[in-house]
């Protein structure tokens, strides 16, 4: 490392330590850049893959109001994907490259989207539990040390909160509905609760990169801290809703002033992460089909742009 690089690194460290923002034009350590790219890409991929389980119910949404809400939500996810891929572009990688890595299983997305949506109540539960967990994960990232990511997160978190409220509102409606609707909600909660806890990642002891990411201010809390915060936030919401969270060990601990909860099935988690979840193959096959099936369209747009670059584009 040259003297100048030492100086640059020292300045970077100062910026980060003083809660300043690193911008695309600033010098940054290669590890920081790589970690950020991986993290933001994974987040972007999650938005895109996350369109599928919800998209599964758009055509069958049982009221036009819910159809419009769901369609708009999935559209927002595509939009989030766009902001996030843009943020990675400021780090020197483009969307096409990342999409290739996604469909070749070289980059990951949130494992939660490898579970199927089996009833319309799943749409509500995804809003409540999955978006809820995402928000707990993401709110601290609005203060990420990397400027473009932090700014994207501010916008995304605002929309996610809106989605979460819509999901909860759907569940309230179903719980006030027929017996079949209430049963549907409980069943969905039973299936999604544990996977939502897994969204915070491995227990702290098994998460070796956390310390570095925290030092770089691209992660602000440990996995277990966030998981606990989520449980504590969600339990009263479940009570208000009138559903039972499927964990007999879940109870308030007066000493800790927090909820105790049961052991997560880390084997299931690892299976899903490794690609053997219920929907991994399907999600990737769909994404691949859309990407490869759209190649001719992207090629056409590129060819057209080249042809018409020199002259004015004629108005339609």
């Amino acid at each position: 490392m040259t003297v100048t690089e030492h100086e640059l690194e020292a300045q970077f460290e100062r910026t980060v330590a003083s809660e300043g923002r690193v911008e695309p034009r600033d010098w940054m350590p290669e590890g920081y850049r790589k970690t950020l790219i991986r993290q933001i890409a994974q987040h972007a991929h999650s938005e895109i893959i996350g369109m599928q389980p919800e998209g599964n119910w758009i055509l069958r949404a049982p009221s036009l109001r819910r159809k419009a809400i769901l369609l708009a939500k999935v559209q927002d996810e595509a939009g989030h994907g766009l902001y996030l891929y843009s943020a990675t572009e400021t780090l020197g990688v483009d969307r096409g490259e990342l999409t290739e890595k996604l469909i070749d299983s070289k980059q990951k997305y949130s494992s939660i989207f490898n579970y199927p949506t089996l009833t319309f109540a799943d749409i509500g539960v995804i809003g409540w539990l999955v978006d809820g967990a995402a928000i707990v994960n993401q709110v601290p990232l609005c203060r990420s040390s990397y400027g473009p990511y932090a700014r994207a997160m501010v916008r995304i978190c605002k929309e996610e909160s809106f989605h979460q409220r819509q999901g909860y509102e759907l569940l309230m409606t179903l719980m006030a509905g027929t017996d079949a609707q209430r049963a549907m909600v409980q069943d969905a909660v039973d299936r999604w609760w544990w996977p939502s806890l897994m969204m915070f990642g491995p227990a702290d002891g098994d998460s070796p990169n956390t310390q570095q990411s925290m030092a770089w201010r691209i992660k602000r809390h440990t996995n277990d801290e966030l998981r606990q915060r989520y449980v504590d936030m969600t339990v009263p919401q479940a009570e208000a809703l009138g559903v039972t969270l499927p964990d007999p060990a879940l109870r308030w601990n007066d000493d800790r002033q927090a909820h105790d909860f049961g052991d997560i099935d880390w084997d299931e988690f690892m299976q899903v992460v490794k690609g053997a979840g219920p929907c991994n193959a399907q999600r990737l096959a769909n994404r691949r089909a859309a990407h490869e099936g759209g190649q001719w369209v992207r090629d056409a747009a590129a060819a057209y742009a080249v042809k018409h670059a020199a002259r004015e584009v004629p108005a339609a």
Partner: protein, 260 residues
């Protein structure tokens, strides 16, 4: 009043079924921007459909289908059979690939925009208001489709072939857009509705402008025939609609007592 209800249903069903078809693109578009844009068009059309269905419901159209506590718009959407839908058959056709989808949006939005522009002058204040809002939305849809028609038509050899094939496939359903139904004719005479026969010139004008620029040719395909003189506006549809509705209505019909 029955005529006005039927007319609201026609305009509503066109938008509703078109939105349902477009929603089938979710998470399948060639680019994220297109995912966003197609969802946008679907949402606009869904919004138009909802206002018009509520209006039709207000005029009594939902009563024959009411089975539970649902709003009029949902009764009309989820508890009507295929034969009760009044949409033109174009909107129910399979969207096929992106080229065909673009051809479909181009034709549909050019036609609906021409219709809605005239409808802003309707004597019925609700229709005039719906049309006023729809005009802005449809102008965007048409522009979006025209831009893509140019890119695909004048893009690569492959995209040119697919865009032309998409246009060819859509073409047999175009003629029906300009066939006036008795209800439309009567209401048009009363200054409430638009006679669709009047729209042909404007739609042709758009296509005459866009297609040559896109290096595409106007298809020569026979129009789809009517069944004993009846088409979509009379509830005589293609075989596609039944399956579209089967999926769309499945959950609502499984729980006729429920609201969501």
């Amino acid at each position: 009043r029955a005529d006005l209800a039927a007319y609201c249903l026609m305009l509503a069903d066109d938008a509703l079924i078109a939105a349902q078809r477009l929603a089938g693109w979710t998470a399948k578009a060639p680019e994220l921007e297109e995912d966003v844009a197609l969802a946008n068009i679907a949402l606009d059309l869904l919004g138009q459909a909802r206002v018009l269905l509520s209006r039709a419901g207000h005029l009594g159209a939902a009563e024959p289908f009411r089975a539970g506590p649902q709003d009029d718009e949902d009764v009309l959407t989820y508890f009507r059979d295929d034969r009760g839908f009044r949409n033109v058959t174009l909107v129910e056709t399979d969207l096929g690939d992106f080229g065909r989808t673009i051809a479909w949006i181009l034709v549909l939005s050019s036609w609906r925009l021409a219709l809605m522009q005239r409808l802003t002058g309707s004597r019925d204040p609700v229709l005039a208001a719906v049309a006023g809002k729809a005009v802005k939305e449809l102008a965007y849809h048409r522009d979006y489709a025209a831009q893509w028609t140019l890119r695909l038509g004048d893009g690569t050899e492959l995209s040119h072939a697919r865009m032309q094939a998409g246009l060819d496939d859509v073409w047999p359903f175009v003629e029906e857009l300009f066939l006036p139904h008795d209800v439309e004719r009567r209401l048009a005479e009363a200054g409430v509705a638009v006679d669709p026969a009047e729209l042909r010139g404007e739609v042709d004008g758009v296509l005459e402008q866009v297609l040559p620029l896109a290096t595409l040719t106007r298809p020569e395909r026979a129009a789809v025939g009517l069944v004993g003189g009846r088409g979509g506006r009379d509830g005589v549809h293609t075989e596609s609609l039944g399956t579209v509705l089967a999926v769309m209505q499945s959950l609502a019909r499984a729980h006729p007592e429920a609201t969501w």
